[in-house]
């Protein structure tokens, strides 16, 4: 299949935890060529099959503590013993993609700083919304050449 996959995950009903799906929704609207967008509550094991079929993957999630507005870091396959399986770490998804489906895409974590997580509500906080916009400004022009994410991140 090839191309770039962006997975935005989180619970959009839990305030800033919805940053990942909000980023996915914004990208979906743009309809960028060569970019596949997916969205879910959490990463799960079956994401490995989709991940393995792409050249590059961006895992986008809310971040509880990074420096605003967002952070980008390169990811490598790996097992962590802190993951549960209904919520799998990006590294574990990459490891499953490699072990089970023979794919090892270049991968990045995009953590967007959020602030409000403990209530119910479908609206992002004002500060989180601003961080989301900054993240999109950064991400969109680089998706056609994901290696630049590494250079800039």
């Amino acid at each position: 299949m090839g191309g770039v996959l962006v997975i935005g995950y989180g619970n959009p009903g839990r305030q800033d935890d919805g940053l990942g799906p909000a980023l996915a929704a914004a990208l979906e609207e743009l309809g960028l060529e060569g970019v596949t967008v997916d969205s879910d509550y959490q990463l799960t094991v079956e994401d490995a099959a989709l991940v393995a079929r792409h050249d590059a993957v961006v895992f986008a999630d809310a971040h509880v503590s990074c420096t605003a507005p967002f952070e980008v870091r390169r990811l490598h396959p790996g097992a962590t013993d802190s993951f549960s399986t209904h919520h799998v770490s990006p590294e574990a998804v990459l490891a499953l993609a490699r072990e089970l489906f023979g794919g090892e895409p270049r991968a990045f974590a995009l953590g967007i700083r959020g602030y409000e997580f403990d209530g119910f509500g479908e609206v992002l906080s004002e500060a989180a919304q601003a961080n989301l916009e900054r993240a999109l400004e950064f991400l969109v022009p680089r998706l056609h050449n994901p290696v630049t994410l590494e250079e800039e991140g």
Binding site: R14, P21, Y41, A62, H86, H87, A95, L100, F120
Partner: protein
């Protein structure tokens, strides 16, 4: 007073959501107390008040990213009473059932292959560096692929019946908003026999493991208990709809054929000062002894029979282990869960061959009512949704009893028993010993998902404290 040490495991690994185990040791390293604390977010019942009732089946999915389909269907069932007196068209009921069996199929497969199999395949004490899903993928790649593909199959069924993965809208008050197209049906039929074959294989692994290790598993975190589920009016297992039945440890009936709307006449809830989570109990027995188990083990124990042939044969074999009496072995949850996995696959097959799924009569309207209760057997156990609605269509009251709440007391007992049997008096508390506690909790497949999962959360911290609260030792994972 003798000095006490406190060990905290926070959060429990490979359990959904957020939980913390505290084990209090005395000066001789004997377990003084052991408890599972679950951080359950109770604010939802207040959050939903004032919202239009028709929003509930979608809004409740915000509650939980792990089992949104169960909440979606339980809320829709409650709202059926509000709009239609609980009548559905055949197409609507069968579409919902397909969604539910798809959810159960993927949830049970995922739990077994990717949460539990590391413990069973490598041993409770194995090096945590290999005792995880990646370790399974390396050593048993076929099993790991099966787990992924079964999960994917169930998720695709959810997508086809609920409309989408996040915040599905398939079930609405009084019916559904779509049917299953012939193309969708044929795509699922194409892969079905392979899925059933894998389900049979998983059942065999669980059965053989339990049988071969019975000497050690029989007592592992085990205790006698009451059991509760809904069953069909003829006593058959029915994960989507039925009436309440509870039995005691010997199989004697505590109550039977209780209408959903009367659940509060037989179930009460207690609050304890050290936990955010409520403790439900059978009202007639009281809080001390009225607690009960829910989920696969309870459902196999309470039902009279299963109406799909392969799962019924497996149930008979399961019940033979305890001479037809209820099985109270905590680790037998896995075997029971795999019987339900196969049952769900058989049900999916039956439904896919039913032309009602292509029907176009989707919604029923009837006399308006002000109150509705929906109860469903979620993968983890009985799930109660209860709402009252005013004349302006606004929800004025919401009460939920989630399956992990019902299993709260049993899980606490399992934690304490394993801590007493395996940790008490040991000079050093190793990671393998702590994993024994987690193995007992994982048997229940608890959903502690009311926490969010943003990056930067979820480290595992083990803290050893003395009675004054001083940190004696600390270890973190992940």
């Amino acid at each position: 007073m003798a000095e006490l040490k406190r060990i905290s495991i926070e959060p429990v690994t490979r359990v959904e959501g957020h939980g913390k185990v505290t084990i209090l040791l005395d000066e001789r390293n004997k377990v003084h107390e052991a408890r599972l604390h679950i951080v359950e977010f109770r604010g939802f019942e207040r959050f939903i008040q004032g919202r239009p009732f028709w929003e509930a089946p979608v809004a409740v999915q915000r509650l939980c990213g792990i089992c949104p389909v169960s909440h979606h269907l339980a809320a829709a069932k409650a709202m059926d009473w509000i709009v239609s007196g609980n009548r559905l068209t055949p197409t609507a009921e069968k579409m919902r059932r397909l969604m539910h069996y798809g959810q159960t199929f993927q949830s049970h497969a995922l739990h077994f292959f990717h949460l539990v199999s590391p413990d069973l395949l490598f041993g409770f004490d194995a090096d945590p560096a290999i005792r995880n899903v990646i370790g399974v993928a390396r050593k048993y790649p076929d099993l790991a692929v099966q787990g992924v593909m079964m999960r994917k199959y169930g998720q695709e069924i959810i997508k086809a019946t609920a409309g989408k993965k996040i915040h599905g809208t398939g079930a609405i008050p009084g019916g559904v908003n779509k049917n299953l197209s012939v193309q969708e049906r044929d795509a699922f039929l194409k892969d079905l026999e392979q899925q059933l074959a894998w389900a049979r294989g998983a059942l065999k692994i669980a059965k053989d493991y339990t049988s071969e290790h019975l000497a050690t598993l029989a007592d592992f975190g085990s205790f006698d208990s009451n059991h509760l589920s809904i069953v069909r009016e003829d006593g058959c297992m029915d994960l989507y709809d039925g009436k309440l039945r509870a039995i005691d440890k010997d199989g004697n009936t505590l109550f039977d054929m209780v209408d959903n709307a009367r659940y509060h006449e037989v179930i009460a809830e207690e609050v304890r000062p050290w936990s955010y989570m409520k403790f439900p109990f059978i009202r007639a027995i009281g809080p001390a002894n009225g607690w009960y188990r829910v989920g696969p083990l309870a459902r196999i124990n309470t039902c009279t029979f299963i109406d799909t042939p392969e799962a019924e044969a497996a149930r008979r074999e399961f019940m033979a282990l305890t001479g037809g009496k209820p099985n109270n072995i905590t680790m037998a949850y896995h075997w029971a869960r795999m019987i339900e996995l196969l049952h769900s696959g058989e049900k999916i097959r039956d439904l896919l061959h039913d032309p009602d799924l292509q029907g176009t009569d989707l919604v029923v309207r009837g006399p308006r009512q002000g109150e509705g209760v929906g109860i469903i057997e979620a993968p983890r156990g009985t799930l109660f949704h209860h709402y009252r609605v005013n004349e302006n269509d606004q929800i004025t009251m919401c009460n939920l009893i989630v399956s992990t709440t019902s299993n709260n007391e049993p899980m606490n007992r399992a934690v304490k028993k394993v801590a007493m049997d395996h940790i008490s008096g040991k000079p050093e508390i190793t990671e393998g010993l702590l994993n024994h506690v987690e193995v007992a909790i994982r048997a229940y497949d608890p959903c502690l998902s009311c926490a969010t999962h943003a990056m930067g959360r979820m480290p595992l911290v083990v803290t050893l404290r003395d009675a004054e609260g001083r940190v004696l030792a600390e270890r973190s994972r992940g």
